[in-house]
């Protein structure tokens, strides 16, 4: 009743509903009988027409419904009143059964948990490595992944620009089951601050970018890279002196050819100039513990073939 200013409107609606229902009953009762002249035996005469005449001679014949049909109408009145006592409907009165849409939804969820809980709990008690070897668990994990993760990481889990590939062995924060689970549960904020001011001039930025490319053996200008090496100190705090990154901070390894945003000189310069701000949302409030567990096993299995091999073996 939040749409109304005060309690009165709830009462008003209740009064209208009661008057309408009782009005229907009164109408029904008043229209079920008619006053007619008595015949010779002193009995009321049969009713031939309703007395309505149109165009002079078009009469409405009395075509009576069976009496039980009238009783059905009375039953609907009783049913309606009974319903309004038991269920919400009479203004702001909540009904004696305490039924509500939210309550019905919560009951469905509870029933669902009771039905699927044992299955989920079975997997929750198993080690990630063992869950990954279970074909049924993997199928659940795949469906969860396609529903929850595929929007960013792709249906094949290979990611795209800005969204990490989950099928290689290159992990920003670490690829052990525990870390994957933490990532899903808590989410990640991958922030690289804009470094242009620290690195120096535009030329310095270009030189550092060439040095970064040289770390992975990508095409680069060796002279500019040599100039850039001394400026890399600014980057080393996170990416390490050797550029191999730091999983504790989520700082990427710059010495491989896996690039989150792109491996060309312009993209790297853009990253140094403007920084990066990347966000993986936390899923602890969206998914149950057991679902996170199953999802972890699925994601872990994508880069650890042992689980899949075990499943293939079971099939043979």
């Amino acid at each position: 009743m939040a749409d109304f200013f005060n309690e009165w409107w709830g009462i008003w609606i209740g009064i209208l509903v009661i008057i309408s229902i009782l009005g229907c009953a009164v109408l029904l009762w008043s229209q079920s009988k008619i006053t007619v002249p008595l015949d010779a035996d002193g009995k009321p005469q049969p009713v031939g027409t309703t007395g309505h005449v149109w165009d002079g001679d078009l009469e409405e014949a009395n075509n009576p419904l069976p009496r039980w049909w009238m009783w059905l109408f009375y039953i609907t009145v009783v049913f309606g009143l009974g319903y309004l006592v038991l269920y919400p409907g009479l203004g702001s009165f909540k009904g004696t059964l305490g039924w509500s849409e939210v309550g019905a939804y919560e009951k469905e969820v509870k029933d669902g948990e009771a039905q699927y809980g044992p299955l989920f709990n079975k997997y929750l008690a198993m080690k990630i490595e063992d869950v990954a070897k279970d074909p049924a668990a993997r199928a659940i994990g795949e469906r969860l992944f396609l529903n929850t993760c595929a929007q960013c990481h792709g249906s094949d889990a290979q990611g795209s620009k800005g969204f990490p590939n989950l099928t290689d062995h290159d992990w920003l924060y670490g690829g052990d089951p525990q870390t994957i689970e933490t990532t899903i549960r808590e989410g990640r904020n991958g922030v690289m601050p804009p470094m242009a001011a620290v690195v120096g001039t535009d030329d310095d930025v270009r030189n550092v970018a060439n040095y970064v490319l040289s770390l992975s053996g990508s095409a680069h200008d060796p002279i500019k890279a040599a100039f850039g090496k001394s400026k890399f100190v600014a980057c080393a705090a996170c990416h390490g002196a050797d550029g191999k990154g730091n999983q504790a901070l989520g700082a990427p390894n710059l010495t491989d050819k896996t690039w989150l945003y792109g491996g060309d000189i312009n993209t790297i310069m853009e990253g140094i100039n403007l920084g990066h701000n990347n966000h993986m949302p936390a899923h602890k409030d969206l998914l149950s513990d057991a679902k996170i567990h199953l999802l972890t096993a699925y994601v872990w299995s994508l880069s650890n073939a042992s689980g899949l091999e075990a499943i293939e073996k079971q099939k043979q």
Binding site: K33, I34, T35, P46, V47, G51, E59, L65, S155
Partner: protein, 478 residues
């Protein structure tokens, strides 16, 4: 009944005339109908159809197909099994077709011979027939039943009524049980009934359907046809002057009157109708067919059988009441002429449409591919690899509509050099579906920037004639 116009009285008038006026109900008090048993050609046919429809209904649920029930409507899994066929929600069009065929058949049969469906195959008629058979066996025919109902309460009356209602309820509950047996496997259901572990919905529907059968066939009977059935009200829209209906031959019958069997009624100035009232006594809706075609008439033809019996006894020609047409009666057509007029444009058009739909439905059903595919492209930017090749990722929702597990192969076409880098084959268990991620890669420069058309071809690995081609787009970054 002479119509009595109703005057609206003022209070004063009413007060002044109250001694001469009384209250009359505007609702009809139901009068029980006691149809008399008939024997004859049409009665036999009705029983043939009772047996035919009910053997299918009561027996069909017990048939098995391979290791499952042959006819099962699995609502929770949204799969309908009809012998070898598995119908999915995607096949809903076939239900529409079935309903269209049913409606058109009804139009056709109604145009040809009125309410054939009502008289012989409608569940209301069929169950009423079964219930009346029980009633006759327990309480006797019309006169015995009237005597029993009018008589004082006695031990015999109570026991007969108990037996009748007991039998009725048994049949009704068995009907409800059979009905639910088409939605829950009936062998499983019977085990549940024996152990009394029925679920709440199974219990509800068994008793609801059973109660509806008991109420409709035992108590409501002709009132269902008179007050509830919409078909009774719009049937006249499908009638024309050549429609065969149950008709009393007024010219031959009138003037009606009783006479001695040996008297020559023509000399007495009488028609063939001896006014015995049998046609009224046998009528399950309680009408007098001699008043002409009425909406209450369900075309059950009990009056034809009843009257023919009397005509035989009187030594008159049969068919005072018979299937006849308005046209034939007006113009004195012979039987042959009358039957020839069944083939008139109206019925031919109905027949033509009906057979066209049946044929089209049968052909599409026979060629139905038991494989359904939906392609969803992953949203977002395509990937560009180090070599400049471009990846697009798709989710293929593949549904195996067969009952056995099956392997499918996926191919891609439409862009030169396009290939699938992920797995090409997928095994899907019977009667289920799976989402299958597919990564398609095209070499650098093999397609225009922007949106390009590609096709996925999904084939049954064992039987490549079963294949589905789905269109999709492949995005190339600008």
């Amino acid at each position: 009944m002479e119509p009595t116009p109703i005057k609206q009285y003022t209070k004063e008038e009413f007060a002044a005339t109250t001694s001469q006026y009384g209250e009359q109900t505007l609702f009809e008090v139901h009068e029980k109908i006691y149809p008399r048993l008939t024997h004859g050609w049409f009665s036999k046919w009705r029983w043939v159809l009772v047996w035919f429809t009910q053997l299918i209904f009561y027996g069909g649920a017990w048939l098995n197909w391979n290791d499952r029930q042959a006819i099962l409507f699995d609502l929770t899994a949204r799969k309908f099994y009809i012998f070898g066929l598995v119908i999915w929600p995607q096949d809903f069009i076939y239900l529409t077709v079935l309903l269209v065929i049913s409606a058109l058949s009804l139009f056709l049969f109604t145009t040809v011979a009125g309410r054939l469906f009502c008289g012989y195959a409608c569940p209301q008629t069929v169950y009423t027939e079964i219930f009346m058979w029980v009633e006759r066996k327990v309480e006797g025919d019309r006169n015995a039943r009237i005597r029993l109902d009018n008589g004082a309460i006695s031990a015999k009356k109570i026991s007969l009524k108990l037996i009748k209602h007991g039998l009725w309820l048994a049949i009704a509950l068995w009907t409800g049980f059979t009905f639910v047996g088409y939605f829950t496997p009936i062998h499983h259901l019977s085990a549940e009934v024996l152990a009394w572990t029925l679920g709440p919905w199974e219990t509800f529907w068994i008793f609801f359907y059973g109660f509806a059968t008991y109420g409709n066939a035992g108590w409501m009977r002709e009132q269902v046809c008179k007050y509830m059935c919409p078909y009774a009200r719009f049937q006249s829209a499908m009638f024309d002057k050549d429609t065969l209906t149950v008709t009393y031959n007024v010219a031959r019958g009138e003037p009606r009157g009783s006479r001695s069997k040996n008297a020559d009624h023509k000399e007495l100035g009488l028609g063939s109708c001896i006014d015995c009232g049998i046609c009224v006594q046998v009528c399950p809706t309680g009408i007098d067919i001699r008043n002409g075609l009425q909406y209450e008439c369900t075309g059950c033809t009990a009056c034809i059988d009843g009257c023919n019996d009397i005509m035989d006894k009187m030594g008159y020609e049969r068919g005072l009441i018979s299937y006849n047409t308005e046209h034939a009666l007006e113009n004195g057509l012979t039987k042959a002429q009358m039957w020839k007029r069944v083939f008139r444009p109206r019925t031919l058009v109905y027949t033509g449409i009906l057979w066209t739909i049946i044929l089209v439905a049968a052909i599409t059903l026979a060629n139905r591919v038991p494989l359904k595919v939906n392609v969803i492209r992953d949203r977002g930017m395509p990937r560009v690899t180090e070599t400049g090749a471009i990846d697009n990722v798709y989710k293929l929702q593949i549904m195996n509509a067969l009952e056995q597990s099956n392997t499918y192969s996926v191919e891609v076409a439409g862009i030169p050099g396009a290939e699938i880098l992920t797995e090409h084959t997928i095994e899907i268990p019977g009667a289920s579906n799976r989402a299958f991620p597919v990564r398609v890669q095209i070499p650098y420069g093999s397609a225009e920037k922007g949106s390009n058309k590609i096709r996925f071809i999904i084939k049954d690995a064992k039987n490549p004639t079963v294949s589905v081609t789905e269109k999709a787009v492949f995005l190339v970054p600008r």
